[in-house]
């Protein structure tokens, strides 16, 4: 496919899924003629028709609730929530129905629903358009929660999410939609690396930095900057928030002795908190310092003129690295 953006890589992944399985349906607001507000579904309704690429009424609970019924009928709905902050009207259906139906039915009725959500800040948006609500979903048994950080993963992981028989919340890092990479569209998705395991994206020895989604690029940049101080950071792209790939992180921390977790979401009771607890249990005798977290504050997402001070950036990551190395 050559060099493409993350947004176009998701589009290509959706196209592959629609081609390979007639039960795959797309639903969402403005995903048809418009191609979605980020153009992620551009051209798909034209090529696959209105019965498979469905412009829905403007009601998020309606989208998820009808997706449950379609899944019960044997379809694989892929729904788009337009922005992170608009998922909450659908929260009830996701938590009480999508997540629990497989268990409630004693395994008779799987819910192979993919919930695509553009998330995160850094685009100068108005309120409700910059949030990182992944912890709410990771906290719910029955859901899987993943996020790609780059175009190649976006292309592969969206197809893997759709093929998964469990519901998957697929968080798309919206400020990275325009990041480019060379994507090989002949990748065999069935034999590709599981989307539910983490990947070491930069091997290192000084400390481990775990991140996912939009923060992976930030942390890689921080690692490059840290080289000037003679530091060799290991950066892990978590990729999946549920399940959490603790073994990959633990293996790294046993070597480096130090862990910093970075995400845009508020740190309080977040993915970083869970990882800190688990790594403390698993690597107690290897740790040279407490696990530190870098992330959003316990405030509503601020007005966009302040978001640069809210979001973790290269300097805040390096500040945490300095602190974790000071022990």
């Amino acid at each position: 496919m050559a060099v493409t953006t993350l947004a176009k890589a998701v589009n290509a992944g959706l196209r592959k899924a629609l081609e390979s399985d007639p039960k795959v349906l797309l639903m969402g607001e403005d995903i048809g003629k418009l191609g979605g507000v980020f153009r992620v579904t551009d051209g798909l309704q034209k090529d696959f028709g209105e019965a498979r690429v469905i412009d829905s009424p403007l009601a998020e609970s309606g989208i998820l609730g009808t997706a449950v019924g379609l899944a019960m009928r044997g379809f694989r709905p892929v729904v788009e929530i337009q922005f992170d902050g608009f998922v909450f009207p659908a929260f009830d259906q996701i938590v009480t129905q999508v997540a629990k139906h497989h268990a409630r039915s004693d395994g008779r009725t799987p819910m192979p629903i993919t919930i695509r959500i553009p998330y995160g800040g850094g685009i100068g948006a108005v309120e409700h358009h910059s949030e990182s609500p992944e912890a709410y979903f990771a906290h719910t048994a029955g859901l899987r929660v993943i996020s790609p950080s780059n175009p190649v993963d976006a292309f592969v992981m969206v197809q893997q999410a759709i093929r998964c028989n469990d519901p998957v919340v697929f968080f798309e890092p919206k400020r990275r939609y325009w990041d480019k990479a060379d994507v090989d569209d002949t990748i065999d998705v069935a034999s590709a690396m599981s989307p539910f395991v983490a990947r070491v994206v930069r091997p290192g020895t000084s400390a481990t930095v775990v991140c996912y989604g939009p923060m992976v690029r930030t942390c890689l940049e921080a690692a490059t900057a840290a080289e000037h101080d003679g530091l060799d950071l290991e950066v892990i792209d978590l990729r999946s928030m549920s399940p959490l790939d603790v073994p990959t992180v633990a293996e790294s921390v046993r070597r480096t002795g130090r862990l910093v977790v970075v995400h845009e979401a508020p740190v309080f009771l977040g993915v970083g908190a869970e990882l800190a607890a688990r790594i403390t249990e698993e690597c107690f005798y290897s740790l040279e310092a407490p696990v530190l977290r870098v992330g959003g504050y316990h405030t509503p997402y601020p007005p966009s003129r302040l978001e640069d001070d809210y979001l973790p950036d290269l300097d805040r990551v390096l500040d945490a690295v300095d602190r974790v190395l000071a022990y």
């Binding site: 998820l64 609730g65 009808t66 997706a67 409630r104």
Partner: protein
């Protein structure tokens, strides 16, 4: 709002058991079919009464009674064809009966041995849904799936008067209308949402809500099994023929409590109950059958005997229902392996096994 349902109420059998005619709706049933409906009503009421008793005896944690609503449930359930699919609340014991779900299978949820209880695909009836109104969107989605499969079947969705205030129910109306989905919305207006009367949910009769969404609404005497059957059959047929959704308001009354945890004496007067007792769905059919000569004393006695035997069987089977294996809580959380759940299952098993070896002879 009129207490008797008003002049718009579709009725084919009066509370006194008199067969009346309606310009739009009718049923043509054999005497055998009529006796079958009577049997359904009596057995469903007996199952409901037995389950209530089992809750009082501590065998069930809770029970949501359907007493008084048997005609609404049996009449609409018997209007379904085998390929149709029903989406219930948690009170549709009469509908479950018509879909071949065994009464014992209804008790598992209330006894606390399962969160489901039957195979939805075997009976074409979804599991009970406890969050109010959620199932209405599932019903519409399922109907959208039928459209895509080119099926001639239809969906029926049950909910109550309280649920009409829920966003999901209104979203279900919107989605079904714009997609012209083959779904019948069957609202049992039993006048009470736990302690709140209909006046807390609506200023207009519920069936008229359909106007705003652009599809037909009809109010039927929910205690008249013949009228319910006629109205539901017509709505299902319209759905099959591509005419989209219909809202049916079955005007009835919750003769029991909301659930066995409720105390209706705190919020409603016994005079209402007395008035509705005169409109009982079973009595009117019994009078009609007897007066028409289609059923005799022997038939009624046989049905009573069958009901009693069913109750005895249900009681014994309920008491014999085993608790699920402890580790079953970890089953089916996910369809595919999930390391956290598997790890917690192992931890749980290890913890419990520690008691087995803790003392001599397995004592602990």
């Amino acid at each position: 709002m009129t207490a008797d349902g008003g002049p718009e109420l579709v009725q084919l059998l009066t509370p006194e058991g008199e067969r009346v005619h309606h310009p739009e709706y009718d049923v043509d049933l054999s005497d055998e079919q009529l006796r079958g409906l009577y049997r359904d009503l009596v057995l469903v009421r007996r199952v409901d009464a037995e389950a209530t008793a089992l809750q009082r005896q501590g065998e069930l944690g809770l029970w949501a009674q359907c007493v008084g609503q048997e005609a609404a449930q049996v009449g609409s359930g018997r209007a379904l064809l085998p390929g149709d699919f029903a989406f219930p609340t948690y009170r549709e014991h009469g509908v479950a009966w018509t879909r071949g779900v065994q009464p014992l299978q209804l008790l598992g949820l209330f006894r606390g041995v399962t969160n489901g209880g039957w195979d939805p695909h075997e009976h074409n009836m979804a599991l009970y849904t406890i969050v109010i109104g959620d199932q209405c969107l599932h019903a519409v989605g399922y109907a959208m799936g039928m459209q895509r499969d080119g099926s001639d079947d239809a969906v029926i969705c049950y909910f109550g008067d309280g649920a009409t205030s829920q966003g999901d129910v209104n979203e279900a109306f919107v989605f079904s209308a714009v997609y012209n989905a083959p779904v019948v919305f069957f609202c049992q207006n039993n006048q009470w949402a736990i302690s709140e009367p209909l006046e807390r949910q609506s200023r207009i009769p519920l069936y008229r809500r359909a106007d705003g969404f652009g599809f037909p609404g009809v109010r039927v005497d929910g205690n008249d099994v013949l009228a319910v059957l006629a109205v539901t059959s017509a709505a299902l047929q319209a759905a099959r023929e591509g005419q989209g959704p219909t809202l049916i308001e079955a005007f009835t009354y919750r003769m029991g409590a909301h659930t066995t945890s409720d105390d209706p004496t705190r919020y409603r007067v016994s005079a209402d109950l007395d008035a509705w007792r005169l409109k009982d769905p079973i009595e009117r059919l019994k009078v009609y059958l007897a007066r028409s000569g289609w059923a005799d004393r022997t038939f009624f006695d046989d049905v009573e005997t069958e009901a009693e035997e069913l109750a005895i069987h249900l009681r014994d089977a309920c008491r014999a229902m085993p608790d699920p294996p402890k580790t079953s809580m970890f089953d089916h959380v996910y369809a595919e392996p999930h390391p956290l759940v598997e790890g917690e299952r192992e931890e749980f098993t290890r913890y419990h096994a520690s008691f087995d070896t803790a003392g001599v002879g397995g004592q602990h």
